[in-house]
C-alpha cells in the first residue's frame, strides 16, 4: 500500500517512536550501570551523563582582584567587563563571548576565575565500588564511652550466596512437588480430586499477605524462624498454585497413547512419571523455573519476614534495602550493590528469555 515515499516515512515514524520508548526504558538502568563504575567523588559531583562528550567550563587563569585594586562593593572593571560582585558570582561573559569570568569565594578574599568552554568527557572509571560492596566485612567501632558497636559490612558476596541458597531450592522444590501433583490430577482417579483442583485454582490469586501472620506464629512454635527451611517452604507454598496449574495444563495435554503403552508394559506410576513425564515436560518446567527463580531472587517481603531476624542469612535484596535505609547517599555503594543483585537475574533472563515468555503466556496470575 502507498508509495515508496509514504512507506519510508511511516517506517521512520514507527521506528522513531519505538526508539524514544526504548531510550526511556533503558536510560534509568544505564545511568545506574555507568555510575557503578565511576569514582566515588565523581558520582557525587557530576551527573553520570558527563561520561558522554559535553562542553564544560575550564579555568584558564585566576585573577586576584586585590592585585588590580578592584572594589567588590561597587562596579568592577576587569577584562573588558564591568560588573558588580553579585553579577560576577553568577558568571559574566567577556565581550568576545569566548570566556567567562566568575567570582569564586567570598567578597573579601575571593578570586576571579577566567574560564573557557571546552569539549570534554569525565572518564575516570574504577572497580573500587564493586570491590567495596563485595568484600566489605563487619568492623568494630569503640565509642568514647567504652562500648563497642559492630558496624555491619556490605558483604554482598555473602548475601549473594545466601540468595542462591534461598532461590535454588525455592525454585526446584515447588516444581518437583507441583509436577507430582499435576501428574496425579492428570492421570489418577481418586476421591477429592475435583475438590483439591478447585482449591489450587482458587488459591492462584490469594495474596500472600494473608498467610504471613499465622505462619510466623507456627514458625515461632516450631523454632523455624530465620532458617533456610522456613523460607523454602514459604516460597514453595506461595508458588505451588501457579506451578501446579501450569504443569497440569501441560501434562494433561500430553498424548495418552504414549503413557498407556508404558502402563501396558507394566511400568508403575512412579517410573512413568520419572522416566517419561518429567523429560517430556522440560519446556513447561523450564518456563515455571525461570518465573519462580526471578520471583524468589527478587523477593523482599518474604525474606524480610522469615529471615529478617537472622542477619547472617540476609539475601541481596535485604542487604541493598538496608544500605538505602542507612546510607542512602553513598551512591558508589548503592549503584554497585544494585548491579550485584541484578547480575544473575539478568543473565538468566537474557539466556532463557524464550522460556520465560512462554511461561508468561501460559498463565500469569499469581497471588
Amino acid at each position: 500500500m502507498g508509495t515508496r515515499r509514504q512507506r519510508f516515512f511511516s517506517a521512520l515514524l514507527v521506528n522513531g517512536m519505538l526508539l524514544i520508548l526504548v531510550l526511556l526504558w533503558v536510560i534509568p538502568t544505564m545511568g545506574l550501570f555507568i555510575s557503578s563504575f565511576r569514582d566515588r567523588l565523581d558520582i557525587q559531583r557530576t551527573g553520570w551523563w558527563t561520561v558522554f562528550p559535553h562542553r564544560e567550563w575550564r579555568v584558564t587563569r585566576v585573577i586576584n582582584p586585590r592585585d588590580l585594586g578592584l572594589d567588590p562593593t561597587g562596579v568592577m572593571e576587569v577584562e573588558g567587563v564591568s560588573a558588580t560582585f553579585e553579577e560576577l558570582r553568577n558568571g559574566v561573559m567577556t565581550p568576545d563571548g569566548r570566556e567567562r569570568l566568575q567570582w569564586i569565594g567570598n567578597r573579601r578574599l575571593g578570586n576571579i576565575e577566567v574560564q573557557e568552554r571546552v569539549w570534554t568527557v569525565n572518564w575516570k572509571f574504577t572497580l573500587d565500588n564493586y570491590e567495596q560492596v563485595l568484600g566489605g566485612k563487619d568492623f568494630e567501632y569503640k565509642r568514647p564511652d567504652g562500648t563497642v558497636e559492630v558496624i555491619p559490612g556490605d558483604d554482598f558476596s555473602g548475601a549473594f550466596f545466601n540468595s542462591l541458597a534461598v532461590a535454588v531450592p525455592s525454585t526446584v522444590i515447588p516444581i518437583l512437588i507441583a509436577a507430582f501433583a499435576a501428574y496425579g490430577f492428570a492421570w489418577m482417579n481418586f476421591s477429592g480430586r475435583r475438590f483439591f483442583f478447585i482449591m489450587v485454582v482458587a488459591l492462584l490469586v490469594v495474596p500472600l499477605q494473608i498467610a504471613l501472620v499465622p505462619l510466623l506464629r507456627d514458625y515461632a512454635k516450631l523454632n523455624l524462624n530465620g532458617t533456610y527451611l522456613a523460607i523454602w517452604l514459604a516460597h514453595t507454598g506461595f508458588g505451588l498454585p501457579l506451578a501446579t496449574y501450569l504443569l497440569f495444563n501441560y501434562i494433561a495435554a500430553l498424548p495418552r497413547e504414549t503413557l498407556e503403552s508404558a502402563f501396558i508394559d507394566g511400568a508403575s506410576h512412579f517410573v512413568v512419571f520419572v522416566r517419561l513425564i518429567l523429560p517430556l515436560s522440560v519446556p513447561a518446567l523450564a518456563s515455571f523455573a525461570i518465573f519462580q527463580f526471578l520471583w524468589v531472587w527478587n523477593d523482599y517481603l518474604v525474606a524480610l519476614i522469615f529471615l529478617g531476624g537472622n542477619p547472617q542469612f540476609e539475601v541481596v535484596t535485604q542487604r541493598l534495602a538496608n544500605i538505602i535505609g542507612s546510607r542512602g547517599n553513598d551512591w558508589h555503594l548503592l549503584t554497585a550493590g544494585a548491579f550485584v543483585t541484578m547480575v544473575l537475574p539478568l543473565t538468566v533472563f537474557f539466556s532463557l528469555q524464550r522460556y520465560f515468555v512462554r511461561g508468561l503466556l501460559a498463565g500469569s496470575i499469581k497471588g
Binding site: S10, A11, L21, V26, P28, G31, L32, I43, T46, V168, P169, V172, I173, L176, A178, G184, M188, F190, R193, F197, I198, M199, V200, V201, A202, L203, V205, V206, P207, L208, I210, A211, V213, P214, Y228, L229, L233, T236, G237, F238, L240, P241, S268, W297, N298, Y300, L301, Q312, T317, A321, I324, T335, M342, P345, L346, Q353, V357, L360, S364, I365
Partner: protein
C-alpha cells in the same frame, strides 16, 4: 499388618515366610528412619551455620532439593510394598498429597486463621487448644472473651487516617493511573514493534526491567530523583532536566508540596517494571490476528488508526482484560517499591505497607490481619471468574 504387606509369592515354608516378613518389616521401618535421620542431620548442620558460606550454600541446596526427592521416593517405595487395593487407594495421595498439605498449611488455612485473628485485639487470640471447645467450652470462651473485639478492627481499618490515605493511594493513584498507563505503554510498544524491523531488540529492552527486583528498581529510580541544593550541580537526571529548563530541583517522591500527586513518581516505577509484561501478552495476541482481516480493512480504505481501534483492539479485548486484571491484583499488593523509596511517608502509604507496619512493626496482629482480609476480599471476584473458567475446562466439569 499382613493385610497391608504384599503376600509373599509362591508356596514356601512357614519359617521362610516369617523370616521374609521380619526382614521386610525391618527394612520398611529402617529405611524411613535412616532417611529422616539424614534429613535431620542436615537440618541441624544448617541451623548451626558455622561452616564456610559456600559449604553451607552447597549443603543447603543439596539438602533442600535432595530431601524432597528422597521423601517422594520413600513414600512411593512404602506404598508399593502394600497390597494392590491399598496401593491404588494411597498412591494418588503420594503424588498429590504433599502439594495439598503445603497448600493447606500455607494458603488455605491461613485465610481462615487470619480472619479469626482479625476478630481479636493486638495479640490475636490467646493460645488455647481447640479441643477445649468440646471438653470445657466455658473455660475456652472465658479465655478468649477478654481479647475478643468483634469487627472493630474493620471499623478502624476504614476510619483510620493512614488507612484512608492507603486506600486513596491504592485505588486512585496505583489502580486508576498505574494500571492504564502500564496497559497503554505495553500496547503501544507491542503495536509499534510489530511493524518494526527491530522488534526483537526493542522488546528485549522494554522487557528487561521484569528481571529487576523492586528494591533494585528503587535504587535506579532514587538515583533519577536524587536532589541536590539548587546551587550545586544536580546528579539526578530528572532534577538536572528540571534545572536546565529553569525549574527548582525537588525531592520528587518526597515532595509534599505537590501531595498527593507525589505518588505518581512511585507509580511511574511500577509502570516501568510492568509494561514489559503487558507488552509480551499483547504482542502474542496481535500476532494472532489473521492478516486477511487487516488487509481487508485497509483495502476498504481504513487508515492505521481506524484499523487499530476498530479491528485490533476488539480482537485482543480478551487479552486486555487478562492483563488489566493481573496488573490490578499486582498493584493492590504493591509493597517493596513504596517501602524502599519513601517508607510510606509523605502521604504515600499503601494497603500493603500499612499491613506490614501494623503486623510486624506495631505488632498489632488483629489490626494487621483485618487489613490482609481486606486484600483477600478485593481479589475474590477474580477468584470466582477463574473458577468459572475451570468449570468449562475438560475433565473437571
Amino acid at each position: 499388618m499382613e493385610l497391608l504387606l504384599k503376600p509373599a509369592e509362591g508356596p514356601r515354608g512357614l519359617g521362610a515366610r516369617i523370616l521374609t516378613f521380619i526382614v521386610r518389616l525391618i527394612v520398611v521401618v529402617a529405611i524411613p528412619f535412616l532417611a529422616f535421620a539424614v534429613l535431620y542431620a542436615g537440618f541441624v548442620f544448617l541451623r548451626a551455620g558455622n561452616a564456610p558460606k559456600w559449604v553451607i550454600t552447597l549443603v543447603a541446596i543439596l539438602w533442600g532439593v535432595g530431601g524432597v526427592a528422597l521423601l517422594f521416593w520413600l513414600f512411593n517405595w512404602l506404598v508399593e510394598h502394600l497390597s494392590d487395593t491399598w496401593r491404588a487407594r494411597l498412591l494418588p495421595f503420594v503424588f498429590v498429597g504433599p502439594a495439598m498439605a503445603i497448600l493447606t498449611w500455607y494458603l488455605a488455612l491461613p485465610t481462615i486463621r487470619t480472619f479469626w485473628i482479625s476478630l481479636f485485639g493486638r495479640d490475636g487470640p490467646p493460645s488455647v487448644p481447640w479441643l477445649k471447645l468440646f471438653t470445657a467450652p466455658g473455660e475456652f470462651l472465658a479465655t478468649l472473651a477478654p481479647h475478643w473485639v468483634g469487627l472493630s478492627n474493620y471499623v478502624a481499618v476504614f476510619t483510620d487516617r493512614l488507612m484512608r490515605e492507603a486506600f486513596r493511594n491504592n485505588l486512585f493513584f496505583w489502580i486508576l493511573f498505574g494500571v492504564p498507563l502500564t496497559v497503554v505503554f505495553g500496547l503501544l510498544v507491542a503495536v509499534l514493534a510489530d511493524r518494526s524491523r527491530f522488534e526483537r531488540v526493542a522488546k528485549s529492552f522494554i522487557f528487561l526491567p521484569m528481571a529487576i527486583s523492586f528494591v533494585g528498581a528503587g535504587v535506579i529510580w532514587n538515583f533519577i530523583y536524587e536532589v541536590r541544593p539548587p546551587t550545586a550541580p544536580q546528579i539526578g537526571l530528572l532534577n538536572a532536566v528540571v534545572v536546565a529548563l529553569g525549574g527548582q530541583p525537588q525531592a520528587w517522591p518526597a515532595h509534599t508540596g505537590i501531595a498527593p500527586w507525589n505518588n505518581l513518581f512511585l507509580v511511574i516505577i511500577v509502570v516501568w517494571l510492568q509494561a514489559g509484561f503487558a507488552m509480551v501478552l499483547f504482542s502474542a495476541a496481535l500476532k494472532g490476528i489473521p492478516d486477511e482481516l487487516l488487509e481487508a480493512a485497509r483495502v476498504d480504505g481504513a487508515n492505521e488508526i481506524q484499523v487499530f481501534f476498530r479491528i485490533m483492539l476488539p480482537y485482543i479485548s480478551g487479552t486486555v482484560i487478562t492483563v488489566t486484571t493481573t496488573i490490578v491484583i499486582f498493584t493492590l499488593k504493591i509493597f517493596d517499591v513504596v517501602w524502599v523509596m519513601t517508607g510510606g511517608q509523605f502521604g504515600t502509604e499503601v494497603i500493603a505497607t500499612q499491613f506490614y507496619r501494623q503486623s510486624f512493626i506495631a505488632r498489632n496482629a488483629g489490626y494487621g490481619s483485618a487489613i490482609a482480609i481486606i486484600l483477600l476480599i478485593a481479589v475474590i471476584p477474580v477468584m470466582i471468574y477463574n473458577l468459572r473458567r475451570i468449570r468449562e475446562q475438560k475433565g473437571f466439569s
